[in-house]
């Protein structure tokens, strides 16, 4: 390695390397005829290539790269599922890219939290508000996407109320989800809390064991693998969740074949 002040007649390292690699360069070729030093450099590069290929032949190297490609692809698939669920901005962007109109009906995104957090805890179908079925939603308190709407109901004590703009949740609240679909569809529903933990909504993921934490990726995949078929129109999803203590800001994500909807839930 030296300074750039080598005589101009000598080819630059990159020129010599390109020539050794087989890229045609009449200037370099002519130079090598009369320059012992550069010929020596070229010979060293050629020897280096021979040694390298003897040590790591193309077939072996490509097999290694192919394995790595498969690992990358598998990771990318997992990441895509998780990102599609977690990233709120991405959710909006995806929907926008697909030409979908999202009307955020809920409060703004979660704010930063400090200290240890505890995510919401799924409860069994027939949970907190099974006995008190909410009525169908009004347009004001839901989130819509081309005829698809989410409505969240909160049961606090004996009172059941839709969670509207500015409403907050707190530990002990029971939550139930209602979806309105324009046409029959398969949907998956998750809660993603501020810490990144994902809890499949039990009503749409009967395979998710209650009280277990499969981890974000596994949870997302498990739920994504088992979407629930819903009829067109209004459906109050079976089951519900109870917000555990301490309450953690979270988002409700609903994945349909048309795209993704989300709703922010903020703690008091």
């Amino acid at each position: 390695m030296g300074m750039s002040e080598s005589p101009p007649s000598h080819p630059r390292p990159r020129e010599l390397e390109a020539f050794v690699a087989g890229e045609p360069s009449p200037g370099v070729e002519a130079h090598l005829q009369g320059c012992v030093a550069c010929r020596h450099r070229a010979t060293l590069l050629e020897q280096d290539r021979e040694h390298h290929l003897a040590r790591l032949p193309a077939a072996v190297f490509l097999a290694q790269v192919a394995t790595r490609r498969r690992e990358h692809a598998a990771r990318a698939r997992r990441r895509n599922v998780v990102l599609a669920t977690i990233a709120s901005g991405l959710g909006v962007a995806t929907a926008a890219a697909a030409g979908l109109a999202i009307v955020p009906g809920g409060p703004g995104g979660p704010t930063g939290l400090s200290g240890p957090t505890q995510p919401s805890t799924p409860v069994a179908p027939g949970g907190p508000s099974e006995a008190s079925e909410p009525s169908e939603p009004s347009a004001a308190d839901d989130t819509r996407m081309k005829g698809t709407a989410i409505q969240i109901f909160r049961k606090r004590g004996e009172q059941v109320m839709p969670v509207g703009d500015g409403d907050r949740i707190r530990a002990g609240d029971g939550l139930r989800i209602a979806l309105t679909l324009e046409r029959p569809d398969r949907v998956s529903v998750w809660f993603v809390d501020r810490t990144g933990r994902i809890d499949p909504y039990p009503g749409t993921d009967p395979g998710a064991a209650l009280g277990t934490d499969p981890g974000p990726e596994q949870g997302a995949l498990a739920s994504g693998d088992r979407p629930t078929s819903l009829a067109a129109g209004y459906t109050l999803l079976p089951g519900g969740v109870v917000v555990d203590a301490p309450c953690v800001d979270m988002r409700l994500i609903v994945q349909t074949s048309a795209g993704q909807l989300e709703r922010a839930l903020r703690c008091e």
Binding site: M3, R12, A21, E23
Partner: protein, 174 residues
């Protein structure tokens, strides 16, 4: 046109350029293991998105750009890990001379803060210290004027000298 290369094309590229690319990775990363890893990553990308290589004026220049970017990423990741460990300077770096003596010593030090430079400055540093290109050639490749390239290189050298002094002081203190 497919965005990826065929297996045969990748084999050909590897046979022709693999050793050179690995050599460059070693120069940029200063570590044989990391260099081989970077070479693998480079070929993963080439295999999947390397179709434009077919029409490149110089395949080597194209491949070097690709491998350089990968190495810059590795350096940045390495720096992040070091910062997480509150160990901004690897122990072997402390053994470097207190003042820069020649271009090779300069490069060893520039490599330490390469990850902190923007991509154009990274390329200038590599073109100067690794490719040994003249300032005119660097200017032509980067689109900056020769005066700007000269100024940037001067800044890089000064920064390297300051870091060398710091490393020397650290060595003395130790």
């Amino acid at each position: 046109v497919a965005s990826n290369l065929t297996d045969d094309e990748v084999v050909e590229i590897y046979n022709q350029y693999g050793a050179l690319l690995l050599r460059r990775c070693r120069l940029l990363l200063g570590d044989a293991g990391a260099a081989e890893d970077a070479l693998h990553e480079t070929f993963v990308k080439i295999w999947s998105y390397g179709a434009s290589l077919r029409t490149a004026t110089s395949r080597l220049a194209w491949l070097y750009r690709c491998v350089d970017r990968n190495c810059f990423d590795v350096l940045a990741a390495r720096a992040r890990r070091a910062e997480q460990l509150f160990d901004p300077l690897a122990p072997e770096l402390a053994r470097l001379p207190a003042t820069t003596r020649d271009e090779a010593a300069d490069w060893e030090i520039v490599r330490m803060f390469l990850h902190r430079l923007d991509e154009r400055l990274q390329r200038i540093a590599v073109m100067h210290w690794v490719d040994e290109m003249t300032q005119d050639e660097i200017a032509a490749e980067t689109g900056w004027s020769r005066q700007t390239v000269c100024k940037k290189l001067k800044q890089l050298r000064e920064r390297a000298a300051r870091l060398a002094v710091r490393l020397g002081a650290q060595e003395s203190w130790a």
